[in-house]
């Protein structure tokens, strides 16, 4: 196993003090499904948004510590954020197709890079949609609006939109919370396929999903990392009382 992202003593606070992170240290293992789970408000989304610097859009008052990605601290002001976000893609909890066609949704990031070669774009669209197991369902609807797809299809469209940029990491923030069980299963299956090439960070939308998918997992509670373990360790044999309570359903 090799560590791709290493979060060191990260403390982050929003100006209004709502959700924040306290002294988080955690490693993200390459080519694995890294699961961050815990009750909502625990700081998981904040951590994801710190890794790709999406928090730049929010009202953050304090950031301390480091997030090393390929040996470079992404919190450093000199980091090329655009470059970073292309390498660390993100999928959100609600399927959020841009108000564009299916095709344009997939190549949105590429267009922003200045890629306009039609045959290159065509290839990437097919490739990305196939990786997201969506091609067979939409190959004849590429010029329809992204919003005309079903919820599950929309979410896979959002995933292929990230994959089209050929990222090193894909972060998914409760990607199946708005989906039916069949769509959820498709996405979970896809993640297992993807991890051979791309590092996956997943915030699952419930404990069962965490247990099903995790190669490594961290349990977050109120902005702190309570416990971290490889494999299904946290679910089978939690060490901390708080983890135990959550995993056994005593709170959540």
């Amino acid at each position: 196993m090799s560590v791709l992202i290493s979060v060191k003593n990260l403390t982050l606070m929003y100006s209004d003090g709502v959700e924040s992170l306290h002294d988080i240290s955690i490693d993200v293992v390459a080519n694995a499904v890294n699961v961050f789970f815990g009750p909502s408000g625990g700081g998981k989304s904040t951590l994801l948004r710190a890794i790709n610097r999406l928090n730049d859009l929010a009202d953050v008052s304090t950031v301390e510590g480091q997030i090393l990605f390929n040996g470079q601290n992404v919190l450093d002001p000199s980091v090329n954020v655009i470059e970073l976000r292309r390498k660390v893609g993100m999928v959100f909890s609600r399927p959020a197709p841009l108000p564009l066609t299916v095709y344009e949704n997939v190549i949105y990031g590429l267009r922003l890079m200045g890629e306009n070669n039609k045959s290159v774009l065509d290839d990437r669209v097919e490739q990305a949609l196939r990786q997201a197991v969506l091609w067979d369902e939409v190959y004849d609807r590429l010029n329809d609006p992204g919003t005309s797809l079903s919820g599950g299809q929309q979410q896979r469209l959002c995933i292929s939109r990230v994959l089209a940029l050929d990222p090193e990491v894909i972060m998914l923030d409760e990607p199946t919370s708005a989906l039916d069980p069949v769509s959820t299963a498709k996405i979970e299956e896809m993640l297992q396929e993807l991890k051979s090439r791309i590092t996956v960070i997943l915030v699952p939308h419930n404990m069962q999903q965490a247990a099903r998918t995790a190669d490594y997992s961290g349990f977050f509670l109120q902005g702190k990392l309570v416990e971290y373990a490889a494999g299904k360790g946290l679910f089978v044999n939690p060490r901390e009382k708080q983890t135990q309570d959550y995993v056994t359903g005593r709170f959540g």
Binding site: I82, E83, L112, L165
Partner: protein
């Protein structure tokens, strides 16, 4: 007074009150509709091809109002040239770029003030800055610039409003895919807000087209024997022409007055209708 009696009294009060409100609304609305209908009835007989395309004759008591129509077009175009790019860019700045600090608050206060300054004060300002200080003279240029600054707050506010209605998730997604702020505006938020922006532009220009006071000392002319040849010439304009023929021309035929008012109304209300149609169609087609 026992309870049921009390309830009855308050019920009667409510019925009277509601009917009073109905009456008030009725008194507000009916004259508006009545007046529009009246202007159409009185003005329509004046409308003819000659009225719309000929120069005025006989001290404006006969002939057409073509130079006033053309002048109003020129002023509308001149105003749009200056106010649209500036206003839309300023709206983008406030909605997409500005952070909440003292400078932004100052910008907001400035916009609120621009919106509230009386139109005749704009006229004075245009006279002082454009006509005299910059030496543009009473000209289409000076009048258009004056009207532009007056129109600016309308365009800025509606652009801002339209951009704010675009869901924030689009911005977050675009940014997460490596979009810069401008790329996000250009590719996503501005296209999505476009119908609202266009509506705002039309409403702003509608106001400019109908204004008299700001152009009285900056570019409008009582009577001109020929059409303006360049932006440095003064021009006739519909609103000022209406003012002139209803106050300063003795023996003015009423039919021509109503006809001229009708033409201006068609312009102004036509723009209003176009703006409404654009807004409603966009709302129906919107995917979010």
């Amino acid at each position: 007074m026992d309870n049921s009696n009390y309830a009855q009294v308050s019920k009667r009060k409510a019925i009277v009150g509601v009917n009073l409100l109905r009456l008030i609304t009725f008194i507000t609305a009916v004259p508006v509709i009545g007046v529009i209908v009246y202007i159409i009835v009185r003005g329509a007989p004046a409308l003819s091809w000659e009225f719309l395309t000929a120069m005025p004759r006989d001290g404006m008591r006969a002939g057409g109002i073509m130079p006033a129509i053309v002048g109003t077009f020129y002023l509308a175009i001149g105003t749009a040239i200056f106010s649209v790019p500036l206003g839309v860019a300023a709206g983008i700045y406030i909605a997409e770029y500005a952070s909440d600090n003292r400078l932004t608050r100052l910008v907001r206060i400035a916009i609120i003030n621009l919106a509230g300054i009386p139109s005749v004060v704009y006229g004075l300002f245009g006279l002082g800055l454009f006509v005299l200080f910059l030496n543009f003279g009473t000209s289409i240029l000076a009048a258009s610039l004056t009207l532009s600054i007056m129109t600016l707050p309308v365009i800025i506010s509606t652009t801002e409003e339209a951009l704010r209605q675009v869901p924030n998730s689009f911005r977050v997604v675009s940014t997460s895919l490596g979009g810069t702020r401008w790329q996000t505006v250009k590719n996503i938020t501005l296209p999505q807000a476009m119908p609202g922006v266009v509506t705002g532009i039309i409403l702003g220009l509608e106001r400019a087209v109908g204004e008299t006071a700001p152009i009285m000392f900056t570019g409008a002319s009582f009577f001109l024997p020929m059409l303006p040849q360049s932006p440095m010439d003064a021009t006739m304009a519909l609103p000022y022409h209406i003012f002139v023929i209803s106050t300063s021309v003795p023996g003015m035929p009423v039919q021509i007055q109503y006809g001229t008012v009708l033409v201006l109304l068609v312009f102004v209300l036509g723009m209003n209708v176009i703006a409404t149609v654009i807004r409603n169609r966009a709302r129906a087609r919107r995917q979010w």
